[in-house]
């Protein structure tokens, strides 16, 4: 047993390869616990992604598991009849659990059987065989299954089995038996933890920042794949997500909003404990005086999920009212998203506001980015518990952000929250704050106080230290969220008069508010 002194952190596409909220969180957690040794296992794409974070000294090892790198395991599929039959039987059950809405309960057992194949080094080779593709072809054309109506082709079968082969590669990854497995997202990163939990008795902790499944659904809409492939792969993600919720020893979302999807996915409420992200108020001190020119500031990755299109449209609307207004964007487009940045620059030019939008690149000192604005804005369509908001709050800046994920819980009554994808609402809220110096200053003061009270890094790290001890079976160690201090009453907070006044449905800038009595309900 680890006594909570050794943790295997499992990431997918984040730490330590790219910058962003989840990576920042991982880095803070590891650095905050120098007495705990970390083994970092990161799922990556090709395996050629550079490590962009400097690994703290208490990271014992870091292993990248490339999903699209050279195929792991044995070169050839098992030729022995018994091995082949056992694999095909498991694979068939696995596929049916994804394809047949009535076979839902079978996924866990089927995945366990495939885990044994993966540990023996046989899974990838077996999934590359003609028989594997033919098995899927035979199953999903069964008239009783919903996929049959979509007319799956052999190309669909080939694509789907290949995608599954890549997606299941993490099953073969071994993690140290004396550690606590900490998956920092749902989905593929939980595969090694699920295997180790069942076979080696390793405790399994699951943290979710965004909603993995929701992002898969949104991401898949624009994939070129046909319906049968999409249905199968999203079925896989859904079942895997559910299994993770079911088997994790503890689930620690970073906001209470995530619970909706987690409970929907079958997570027992008793296993869910919210641990908010934290920020170090000394690293993000009060920003001081505001700039001389009216400025909106934004910090983050330039990525479609941040919906900067809405932000730029909102900026154009606000600028029409306030011609001196500037928008400063701090952040860079990660590899592969350059096209998005280019499209945004074009949009700014089309709207005639290119001269007011400043692309600042990645800020060395992020606090400077928040200080650069009168108001810090966030336009994302999906968020967990965004650092850019609590950091801006720590700097004593008020915020205008979209109502996604844990944003409301973070902001509380210290900024304005508007519906996502509504440039008019974003613009109106920003103008409202820009025009009222006194209110802006008051909100900024309250924002910093809220961070100091509720969202400090120390509090966040202490919670996980306690959770690791508890999971490792240390007697007496149980993490209980301090009820009095956390925003347990966040729903109340959201209904306070101020919120009613400014949120989407209560305000003129979105849709006409229906009379309380005459509404649908």
């Amino acid at each position: 047993m680890s006594q909570g002194r050794h943790v295997t952190m499992l990431t997918e596409g984040t730490y330590p390869h790219v910058h962003g909220g989840v990576s920042t969180w991982c880095d803070q957690l590891i650095r905050g616990m120098p007495e705990v040794g970390f083994t970092v296992t990161s799922l990556t794409g090709s395996g050629r992604e550079p490590v962009t974070w400097e690994l703290p000294p208490n990271v014992r090892t870091h292993t990248a598991v490339p999903l699209w790198g050279p195929r792991p395991g044995r070169a050839h599929a098992p030729r022995r009849g018994a091995d082949r039959r056992r694999f095909l039987h498991s694979f068939e059950r696995f596929l049916l659990s994804l394809l047949d809405p009535d076979a839902h309960g079978d996924f866990g057992a089927a995945l366990d059987a495939l885990t044994d194949e993966a540990r023996a080094g046989r899974l990838s080779a077996a999934l590359r065989t003609e028989t594997a593709v033919r098995t899927l072809m035979r199953l999903w054309t069964r008239p009783s299954l919903p996929t049959a109506a979509a007319g799956p082709t052999v190309h669909d079968a080939l694509t789907a089995v290949d995608l599954l082969e890549h997606a299941l590669r993490p099953l073969a990854v071994r993690i140290p038996e004396d550690s606590v497995a900490h998956a920092v997202s749902s989905g593929l990163a939980t595969l090694p933890a699920l295997a180790a939990q069942r076979l080696d008795g390793v405790p399994f902790l699951l943290t979710e920042h965004g909603i993995y499944l929701r992002e898969r659904y949104l991401g898949y809409r624009t994939e070129a794949q046909r319906w049968p492939v999409k249905a199968l792969m999203l079925g896989f993600y859904r079942e895997l997500n559910t299994l993770g919720y079911e088997r994790a020893d503890l689930i620690t979302p970073c906001n209470r909003y995530n619970r909706r999807w987690e409970e929907r996915g079958g997570a027992l409420p008793g296993k869910i404990r919210t641990v908010y992200n934290g920020v170090d108020p000394h690293a993000f001190p009060h920003a001081g005086a505001e700039p001389s020119v009216p400025t909106l500031s934004w910090a983050g990755r330039i990525d479609p999920i941040k919906d900067l299109e809405t932000l730029i449209r909102a900026f154009a609307l606000a600028r029409a009212e306030l011609p001196a207004l500037r928008l400063r964007l701090f952040g860079a487009a990660p590899a592969g998203c350059e096209w998005y940045a280019t499209g945004l620059e074009k949009l700014a030019a089309e709207l005639g506001v290119a001269d007011g939008v400043f692309w600042e690149g990645r800020a060395g000192d992020v606090a400077r980015a928040y200080a650069a604005g009168h108001v810090v804005v966030l336009s994302s369509i999906s968020e967990g518990f965004p650092f850019s908001i609590i950091e801006a709050m720590s700097c004593g800046r008020t915020t205008v952000s979209t109502d996604v994920g844990g944003v409301r819980e973070a902001v509380g009554d210290t900024g304005l929250v508007v519906p996502p994808r509504e440039p008019e609402a974003l613009a109106a809220a920003a103008l409202e704050l820009l025009r009222d110096d006194e209110r802006r200053a008051a909100l900024g003061r309250r924002a910093r106080q809220r961070v100091v009270d509720l969202f400090t890094l120390r509090r966040s790290v202490d919670a996980f230290r306690q959770i690791y001890l508890e999971l490792a079976g240390t007697p007496g160690a149980v993490y209980e969220p301090p009820a009095a201090e956390t925003v347990a009453d966040w729903t109340l907070e959201l209904r306070d008069p101020w919120y009613q006044e400014h949120t989407a449905w209560g305000h003129h800038w979105s849709e006409p508010s229906e009379p309380e009595t005459g509404g649908v309900r």
Partner: protein
Amino acid sequence: MSGSLWLKDPGAAVRDALPRVPEKPRPTGPAGADPVGELADRLDDFVAAAVHPDEVAALLESDGLTDERIRRRYGHEDSFALAEELYARVERRFPPSGDPPPGPAGPTLLVCLLRGLLFTLPGLGHLLAAPVLAGGGRTAYAPLLAAALAGWTWNQALAHRAYTWLGLGDRPAAAGALLRGAPVGVVLGTAAAAAVAPLHVPAVLFAAGQSLYLAAATVLLVLSRERVLLPVLLPLVGGALFAALQPMPARAHIVLPLVSVTAATGAAAGAVAGVLRRADPGGRRGNRRRGVGPRGLGGSVPYGLFGLGSGALVLHAALDAPAFAVALTLGMGPAEWLLYRFRADSLAGLRACTSPGAFRISVAAALARSLAGYAGALLTLMAAAMLLWPGAGDGPDAATAAGVLLLGAVLWTGLLLQAFGAVLSPAAVCCAAALAPLLLPGSERLLVPAGASGVLVLLVCAQLGRITAHR
């Protein structure tokens, strides 16, 4: 957001824009009688193609619908409940497959024909040098043939290794492999010539030049710079044309090929240096990750053997009927084009067939179409070569022509299998076919090509009829 490692080949475009829901009409008054119905109409296309109610919920949330708003406007508890009703109301529709994503566009027929010409033109060097090499009679060609075979074998293997690096996205490593491998090919070719006729110094020197050209052409082909070869070959072409009209000084017969070889070598060296310089400004060689490279050198050996076997078969034919050998070489142009056509055909079959059996039949049909097209092209070229070749008046007999045609089929099916990564079988078949005449003298004209092409056609049907061959 959580880690967003979209499960798709990162080599392709990494991420697409998030979905944009249709513009919502601004509600102007109280909600209509059936707000859920209105919403269902607006989101019809999305909901019809959804795979699960939760997908609809995800879309609703990303569109800015919060639970509170849903309760007030639609009378459902939350986005999940509303999504379930929408999912139940809208009948599933499966979007038509549409156009397949544009695959790697194959070269046009004209480009392929030009490439065929590119493979053939260097032969003019032999024509130019003939007076210099004469003296040994037919034996003078033996060292050149030996050098060609050795070079062909080595360069096929080398090209495979470099292509593997390119496939892994590591261009500098490919250039490095070419830089180390190409000179070895030159040495091997020259050594082979020297071994055959150590005393025939002009032939050995010419073989050295020929090997140098082969190595340079391999480098340029792998790095997709083969277009440079056209100007490089100009002195050779000009000289050959001039020599056909009136006699040239003996020196020109040597200098002109030498100019072409030197230019090709320079261009190849430049191409390699360009790649290395661009990728390696600070000498970052040391930190390239190990273990992501091609597995060992052994994987390239079968490609070399295929080169050796097919090269020997072509040389057999070239000695018997040089005009047909020219036709075969020129025919590599259409052959290459047909390889792309076959791939496109089989991909279309993959997307159209709904059972493994139907797919196997569609592959056989694509093979028949391609072979027929190739036979037609080759026949045309052979007829043209017969007409133009000086002194081919009496011409080879029908059996020889049929043998060359079948040999073409052997080469094409061998290349086809190789293009699909099945290289061991065509290598074995070609090498066996090249050796067969030693056991069965006289079989090389018709029997060997017929047998080999028959075996390869069966192999194509068996191996490429499998779905997994088309990843």
